[in-house]
């Protein structure tokens, strides 16, 4: 299956290589570099590149390319999914997945990669199992290790790998037993010039942070499970129970995990929580353009819009901007032509606006398309679809856990065409 893995940074250097079978020369990456050169943007490198003897399957995350070398037929998603799992694991271990973090922890990285694949076939990808095998480096542990000479490699053997619930490690103990669930919904939308919605849909996830002693068996029920149109579960969720009763029943992994992701059925009309008034014009023959943008809340169910950020890729002809925000800060990068405006909170009484002029390249013709505006925002304490958790029960353990649930709505890919 997966023959080798190369980690390539944005400047095109291979800074880590790992082989699970015979060594594949790193010159195989030349094909990748060629493709990288051809691509205008880093994102445009095709994920699958055939070469005479190998196939390169790559993912790009945190500005690092993870290039897997394949020799024979294998479902490409299998590899892609695995690579993403690798990145997730690194992130889990080191907090960030950057070139520096990987280089600093190269031994742990190597140990992890060794455990995750055997002969190119995934062996242990559950983070709970990996953490039993190899303890994540923390500052405290580093200090302790220095003093005592002990290591990051777990002494005890990962029995979880063999159990019926491979995602949960054994012998979990906490003094404070807590279970937190975050219902996070993202709204994807395309709004057209006139402000009408072209497409809008809501995708949600329930992320959990469960710190419970022993082997708790949890059930989570919803007030309105019918809202969920299409769902995918963490392997711990008992599918039969969901099919029959629309109840999530599971023995949770220890720590953070994604319990569920769902899609809200598209029959329900999606309330768009924000509107944008815009007036962006370029005049033929003039080297000036007008730029006006006003934001306002709309159908937010009384909750405030927070952490609003506007970003827009302005046309290549724009040399610079001279804008005046009524609140927040704005920034224009003349090289990438990326305009970003950190608005912050929207006050319905005093709508934020960004007005001013753009200077265009002299003599250049007027750009034929107005830029698209991407909006990010957050609405706390509300799930846009109206999904509500009914109750959470625990079986199998005696103690009383502390339970918490939080709702949040975020903008996903929210675009306004102008």
């Amino acid at each position: 299956m997966i023959h080798s893995l190369f980690l390539v940074n944005s400047s095109g250097d291979i800074f880590l290589e790992k082989h699970w079978k015979s060594v594949v020369s790193r010159s195989v990456c030349d094909y990748f570099f060629e493709a990288q050169e051809r691509a205008s943007e880093p994102e445009n490198v095709p994920p699958v590149i055939p070469t005479p003897h190998h196939y390169l399957i790559s993912v790009l995350r945190h500005r690092i390319y993870f290039v897997a070398v394949i020799q024979s037929e294998v479902p490409p998603l299998f590899v892609i999914e695995f690579l993403h799992r690798v990145v997730d694991t690194f992130q889990d271990y080191f907090g960030v997945c950057t070139e520096a973090a990987i280089k600093d922890n190269v031994v742990v990285v190597y140990e992890l990669l060794e455990e995750m694949l055997d002969n190119g076939f995934p062996l242990a990808t559950e983070s709970n199992i990996l953490k039993e095998l190899i303890k994540p480096p923390t500052i405290l542990r580093t200090v302790v290790n220095t003093i005592t000479g002990s290591t990051n490699v777990g002494e005890q053997l990962p029995t979880g790998q063999l159990s019926v619930v491979p995602w949960r490690r054994t012998g979990v103990k906490y003094t404070n037993n807590e279970a937190y669930f975050d219902v996070v919904e993202e709204i994807d939308a395309i709004i057209d010039k006139s402000g009408s919605t072209i497409t809008a849909e809501i995708q949600g996830v329930i992320d959990a942070c469960v710190k419970l002693t022993g082997m708790p068996d949890l059930t989570l029920s919803f007030m309105n499970p019918r809202l969920l149109d299409d769902v995918s579960f963490h392997p711990c969720v008992r599918f039969k129970r969901w099919e029959a009763e629309r109840i999530l029943s599971f023995i949770p992994p220890d720590g953070n995990f994604r319990l569920l992701s769902y899609h809200v059925s598209c029959q329900n009309l999606v309330a768009i929580p924000v509107y944008v008034k815009h007036n962006i014009t370029f005049r033929e023959g003039s080297s000036q353009g007008r730029f006006e943008l006003t934001l306002g809340p709309k159908q937010t169910m009384g909750k405030g819009l927070e952490a609003v950020i506007i970003s827009s890729q302005l046309p290549r002809g724009v040399l610079n901007t001279n804008l005046n925000p009524s609140q927040g800060t704005y920034n224009f990068d003349p090289v990438t032509k990326l305009l970003s405006w950190d608005v912050g909170k929207i006050n319905p009484q005093k709508l934020p606006s960004l007005k001013g002029s753009m200077s265009l390249q002299a003599g250049a013709s007027k750009p034929d398309e107005n830029p698209t505006i991407n909006i990010q925002f957050k609405i706390q304490q509300s799930a846009l679809s109206g999904l509500k958790v009914n109750r959470l029960d625990m079986y199998g353990e005696k103690y009383k856990p502390f339970k918490g649930i939080k709702y949040m709505t975020k903008a996903g890919k929210f675009q306004v065409r102008t």
Partner: protein, 1112 residues
């Protein structure tokens, strides 16, 4: 990094000045290490590392290894450190060991001779009692790509494949692939192992062994038959990566084994969405319409069991299920995958790319599937280019009369996109829509013409090209457009577009007689500065005009032809010469000249604007080959449906007769199984509970399938009966239906059969032991006999191999291995031989073995070696006689309850004569009534799997007479009671024998040293201990021995120390070693330690012992 540097500094004093420099450099942050590596000479650095590795401080070694790993990670060569590193392979420090493994696997191929030094370490670790250590040893051993150790690997794999731990078996499945890639000649042997592992019921193993199957012998589809249903049923509980592999394999399997569920006429209802809608409407009626087709219940089973996996969080699993439905499900059921695929579009960019590709292929054939989700394919400005173009592709495929206006409006936005490549793609898409949907052709054409005045060259060029194609398909009056394009000609610089316009002029020159010559005139002027493709078209245009309008253009044409004649490009020169000969009449021109007009101005077929994904479905969806649109190496073709389904009974797991024989006694297995599992809860290592669960789900679903299949079958039967009751075909269908009914009932009983077979397997996996059991009971399983035959043959092979090596060495090894599994069965013997290391370089620390022991054991062993088929006779040899036989009698049947028959039982603690796995029980029967009792015998028993050797029927028992009979009961190493019925002629009495845990053992003799060694293997979870306060009388050796012997049938092990008493035994059924140590501590306290792999029995025995020793 911090820790490393401080460590280094602390050892500095010993290191000397050289290393001080080194250390100083090393303290610089790692990021600069790469640069540092360049400046320092490599060998000097390595010297330093070598020194560190050779020190006797683990921390120094560890630091060295960490630096070496960092070198490897950067792709630097660290191979000359091999000898220094390999020395540490047996280190006690786990992290150090792991890093050495990493190094070893990386460089073993380059340093084959030195790598051999490490082999013995792994061979030793392969015998470790801890399954995880065994597994990791096998993992590393098989990863060392050194051809010389192939035989060792082969042996290790074979042995691991029958390991009791599913995790080790999983590792062996991985090792199969590694060995195969190292030495393909081993294929046949490996297939045997694969076959064996395929039968494994653990979910851990399933995915890995199927992977091995795919890699080694994907064509051996016959190996799957018997495991097909099991795989289907296990699938949900297999880990996600295994699911992908199994699903892909089962897709291929199903295509060879089942008949097509698709309608005969429209196997691919291409482009006929109407057909799809029809089938949609008629979904409910489908059943009535397609009487002829009846889905195989196994086919249904696969579809049903994969469906829940569409909810998996793993995108690879979802897509593999999607492709399974696409390739296997009836057309009207494929719809279920749509939602899940659309959901994946929220995932990472790379995932989107693959999913969109698959959707693109699907949407060409089945627009209806994705049309409701059209908006999910709208392009966002932030999408990557390849994703944009895929979305465009799908939108184009989805376009129909109803939604085209929406789509075109959307396209209008895209055309204006800043990403010009994407805009060009959109124009092509518009062109395709225009050809596919005739209603909008004109609108599209107008729109495209408007685009001709676009400022961007690529957009204009693309429009020209598309318009050209459109005009060709619509050879009506479009001279306006052509004129318009001629006007634009001067402004267009893109060669392809210019060439297209020229071609259009030439082709339709009769429609624009005024303009064409003028264009030609302009071209004549700029001919020399044009691109090649434009020049060629200019020549073409000139020729065509010459033929239609020679008056105006003769001179121009000659001029152009002259220019062409001396062009730098040979293509153009060639074309010019050809055209000249063709059109200019001269004396040499032959017959061809007459036809010049017909040649050049022939009506040309319109180009077909079609998707690049049109033919992609020749590859299995979701595969690499599908993604790159060429056959990847190792791609396995998906075969077409067979016209006639192959025999479906091949998937039935058992032969019919024995099952029937067993049927009456199978009823109550469930109960015993359940209690068994609860017993085994402690048994933390293997996936028992998992298995239980699987079995539960498996049996339930197979029940389902059988019921559904039978109902289906019966309906078909009825129908066919109605239709033509006398025709041979109906007879056939009758037969087949009855057959399949039979098979379904069989599969039912199979499930139960599996359960009955479970207990023997649970202990230590010994297939032949199991087989011999069933043989005795007259249950001749076909596979069993064949597998045992295989075993024997392989056994003799390895035997001869081993002979070539030094005899003493072998004996030592063999014997040391032999002891733990004292009752030697034929498989055991085979495995013993396998354990003989072919390459034992381990001279440094020979395993401690004592001489006298060897002489005791070896004869029996040799006996076993000679006669592999003699299974059990020799096994009793090491078993010693009981140290003590308790007199205690237990009531079996009270005389009141037994209507005068009273029965007592006791354990004589003698090895059972009937079968060594049984515990012998003496029953004394007394007739207390006043009439003779006749025909006393044993009736029904439970659990049904209970193996019991009954006594012969006692014909008559006179009043006041008593008789003692003996009985053999296989308790399966559990204290679960054996229930059976004691019958007389008139009555039946239910009785039960409840063994104390101590009675399930057989005493063995061994030396103290052996005891310690065995104990060393059974640490950790295999050990249970307790400190007790003993009664005062029990503090000396005599009473202790007596008390222990009373409680448990164990043998005394001579002890060197006065305060430590040791006892040893083995369990009757599985022969697992049980070791008891009583260590006196102080006045009246003692530490009891019990070591046994039977983790349920350990604590129970401990409890009994505590109780006994605390008592006076």
């Amino acid at each position: 990094m911090l820790s490393m540097s401080t460590n280094n500094l602390s050892y500095n004093d010993q290191g000397g000045s050289d290393s001080a420099v080194e250390v100083g450099q090393e303290t610089t942050p790692t990021s600069s290490n790469a640069g540092f590596g360049l400046f320092s000479t490599n060998f000097k650095k390595n010297d330093d590392l070598k020194e560190m590795l050779e020190s006797n401080k683990d921390s120094l070694k560890l630091d060295a290894m960490k630096r070496i790993i960092a070198l490897i990670a950067k792709g630097k060569n660290a191979s000359e450190l091999f000898p220094a590193v390999v020395k540490n392979v047996a280190s006690k420090n786990i992290e150090l060991k792991k890093l050495v493994y990493v190094y070893l696997v990386r460089y073993a191929e380059e340093q084959q001779d030195l790598a051999l030094l490490s082999i013995s370490t792994f061979q030793r670790a392969l015998k470790d009692p801890n399954q995880l250590i065994r597994a990791s040893a096998l993992r590393v051993l098989s990863s060392i790509r050194v051809p010389i150790i192939v035989p060792i690997m082969m042996l290790a794999i074979k042995e691991a494949a029958s390991d009791m731990s599913p995790y080790v078996r999983k590792t062996s499945a991985h090792a199969i692939q590694k060995l195969y890639s190292l030495d393909p000649d081993q294929k046949e042997h490996l297939i045997e192992v694969i076959d064996k592992l395929l039968k494994d019921k653990s979910t851990l193993v399933a995915g890995s062994v199927v992977m091995a199957f795919e890699e080694v012998c994907p064509d051996r589809i016959d190996l799957i038959h018997k495991n097909y249903r099991k795989l289907c049923n296990l699938l949900v509980d297999v880990e996600e990566w295994g699911q992908v592999v199994i699903i892909t394999m089962l897709t291929r399997y199903a295509r060879t084994q089942f008949t097509s569920p698709w309608k005969e006429d429209g196997q691919f209802d291409e482009n006929s969405e109407t057909a799809f809608y029809e089938s949609d409407e008629k979904k409910t009626k489908n059943g009535d319409e397609k009487k002829s087709y009846m889905m195989d219940p196994d086919h249904r089973l696969l579809l049903r069991n994969t469906k829940p996996l569409l909810q998996s969080r793993n995108t690879a699993v979802v897509v593999s299920v999607a492709q399974l439905y696409w390739h296997l499900a009836p057309k009207h059921e494929v719809g279920v995958i749509t939602k899940s695929l659309v959901r994946l579009l929220r995932s990472h960019r790379e995932v989107q790319y693959i999913v969109l590709q698959n959707i693109a292929t699907m949407s060409i054939q089945r627009k209806g599937m994705f049309e409701p989700y059209m908006k999910s394919f709208y392009v966002r400005s932030t999408d990557a280019t390849h994703i944009k173009s895929l979305k465009l592709e799908i939108l184009t495929s989805l376009a129909n009369e109803a939604n085209i206006s929406t789509i075109l409006r959307e396209f209008q936005t895209y055309v204006k996109s800043q990403d010009k490549q994407f805009a060009a793609g959109t124009i092509q898409a518009i062109g395709r829509c225009a050809t596919n949907i005739s209603e909008v052709t004109d609108t599209c054409l107008q729109g495209l013409v408007l685009l001709l005045s676009n400022r961007d060259e690529t957009v204009v060029a693309e429009s020209v090209v598309v318009i050209k194609k459109l005009l060709q398909t619509q050879p009506t009056q479009h001279s306006d457009i052509i004129k318009h394009m001629a006007k634009l000609f001067d402004n267009i610089a893109v060669p392809m577009a210019r060439a297209s316009i020229l071609w259009l002029m030439g082709e339709y020159c009769e429609r624009v007689p005024q303009i064409a010559p003028d264009v030609l005139r302009k071209m004549a002027k700029s001919f020399t500065s044009e691109e090649d493709i434009v020049k060629l078209q200019t020549v073409n245009l000139a020729a065509k005009l010459y033929l239609t309008n020679s008056k105006q253009t003769k001179l121009l044409t000659q001029y152009i032809l002259n220019l062409g004649k001396y062009d730098q490009n040979y293509d153009i020169r060639d074309r010019t010469r050809f055209i000249r000969q063709l059109i200019v009449p001269n004396e040499k021109s032959g017959a061809l000249g007459k036809y010049a007009r017909r040649i050049l101005l022939a009506p040309k077929p319109a180009p077909v604007l079609e998707s690049t994904y049109k033919d992609r479905d020749r590859y299995q969806l979701g595969t690499l080959s599908h993604t790159i649109n060429t056959k990847a190496s190792g791609y396995l073709e998906l075969s077409d449906w067979p016209a006639v389904a192959p025999d479906q009974s091949v998937r039935n797991v058992e032969v019919i007769e024995p099952v029937k024989e067993w049927a009456p006694s199978l009823g109550k297995t469930g109960k015993s199984k359940l209690s068994k599992s609860s017993d085994d809860k402690f048994y933390s290592d293997s996936g028992e509970e998992e298995e239980e669960k699987d079995k539960g789900s498996g049996s339930s679903s197979s029940d389902d399938s059988s019921s559904s299949s039978s109902s289906e079958e019966s309906s078909s039967e009825a129908e066919s009966d109605e239709e033509k009751s006398s025709s041979p075909s109906s007879e056939e269908s009758d037969k087949s239906s009855s057959q399949s009914e039979k098979s379904s009932s069989e599969s039912d009983s199979e499930q139960k059969k599996k359960t009955t077979k479970k207990p023997p397997q649970k202990k230590t996996v010994k297939p032949t032991a199991k087989d011999s059991d069933s043989d005795e009971n007259g249950n001749v399983a076909k596979e069993a006999s064949s597998s045992s035959a295989e075993e024997t043959s392989s056994g003799s092979d390895s035997g001869s191999d081993a002979d070539s090596h030094s005899g003493t060495e072998r004996k030592k090894k063999t014997k040391s291995k032999a002891k733990p599994k004292v009752e030697v069965k034929s498989t055991k013997v085979v495995s013993l031989l396998k354990e003989v290391s072919l390459l034992d370089l381990d001279d440094f620390n020979p395993t401690p073995v004592t001489r006298p022991k060897m002489s005791v054991l070896s004869p029996s062993l040799l006996g076993d070696l000679e006669g592999l088929s003699l299974s059990n006779i020799s096994s009793t040899i090491q078993v010693s006689g009981p140290a003590f036989v308790p007199e205690k009698r237990h009531d079996l049947l009270h005389r009141m309850a037994g209507k005068g028959l009273s029965a007592h039982y006791q354990f004589p603690r003698q090895p059972c004569l009937y079968q060594p796995t049984m515990v012998s029980v003496q029953i004394s029967l007394t007739n207390t009534s006043d009439h003779p009792l006749e025909q006393i015998h044993i009736g029904d028993r439970s659990p049904t799997g209970l193996h019991m050797h009954c006594f012969n029927t006692i014909e008559c028992l006179l009043p006041d007479a008593s008789v003692t009979v003996s009985l053999g009961v296989d308790f399966n190493d559990s204290t679960q009671a054996a229930n059976f019925q004691l019958c007389t002629k008139e009555d039946q009495f239910s009785v039960s024998i409840q063994p104390a845990v101590g009675e399930l053992f057989l005493p063995v003799t061994m030396t103290e040293q052996d005891f310690r060694k065995e104990q060393g293997k059974l640490l950790g979870m295999n050990e249970s201990s307790a400190t007790i306060t003993m009664a005062a009388e029990n503090t000396t050796s005599q009473p202790i021995s007596r008390q222990v012997a009373t409680v448990a049938n164990l043998g005394v092990v001579p002890s060197g120390q006065d305060n430590i008493h040791r006892f040893a035994g083995k369990t009757a059924s599985s022969g697992a070693v049980v070791l008891v140590t009583v260590e006196l501590r102080g006045e009246s306290t003692a530490l009891i330690t019990i070591n046994t792999e039977k983790s349920v029995m350990g604590p129970m025995l401990l409890r009994d012992l505590k109780w006994a020793l605390a008592q006076a």
